[in-house]
Symmetry: C2
């Protein structure tokens, strides 16, 4: 199979135009992807997210959640209990993004051996 045999559904316009770039930059930033994965099975509280996403700082979790909320991809529910509780959850739109995101995760999982081998070979040849 050659490259030209592969056909992808072409986006309506040039995929590199401004708005699409903004959205992709949001999805593909350092932490958003992992927040999506962490929320895929339902609502999760702030500190539970913090524990689930290894290495994320409180600060970056807050910032990234705010951005995703602004984009309408996740919703924030605040319970004024003591101690306070805040649930984060994927919205309808957010869930529709889950399929492509999980496709990426699944790809990474099934190809990790191939990539690790490529790295070893590259580092050796160097």
């Amino acid at each position: 199979m050659t490259l030209s045999d592969i056909e992808f559904p072409t986006p309506s316009e040039d995929a590199d135009c401004r708005p699409v770039r903004e959205i992709l930059d949001r999805i593909a930033d350092k932490w958003s992807l992992y927040i999506f994965v962490a929320l895929k099975d339902g609502p999760v509280r702030f500190n539970a997210l913090r524990r689930q996403i290894d290495g994320i700082s409180q600060r970056m979790l807050t910032i990234t959640l705010r951005q995703l909320e602004r984009d309408g991809l996740i919703s924030r529910t605040h319970f004024p209990t003591i101690p306070p509780r805040v649930d984060y959850e994927l919205t309808e739109v957010g869930r529709s993004l889950l399929a492509p995101v999980m496709a990426l995760v699944t790809w990474a999982d099934s190809n990790r051996n191939v990539i690790e081998e490529a790295r070893r070979q590259h580092d050796q040849t160097r």
Copy 2:
């Protein structure tokens, strides 16, 4: 449809384990995604990539290409002509990643209006 109705192919292990994280961090960094899109139709030269990917610096293009090459996702062909010429191209493995990546791009394209509306509404409510 509720969230629990959605079933995804579960990766063989916990998706948050080390190697998968490393791979996802590479794919979902600021520039890799755009390099993939730019290479989807065949080999492209260094400066052509630079022009295609709006806003990328020469430095970051070099660094990102090197990383993707190390991971075996793209190949680098150097022609010792004057002026020199270097072609970058997706490898077999790299092409297999194209499907999930383009799914993400297509999603971003079809949902940009929804997201922009969500942002407007959020900024207004604030």
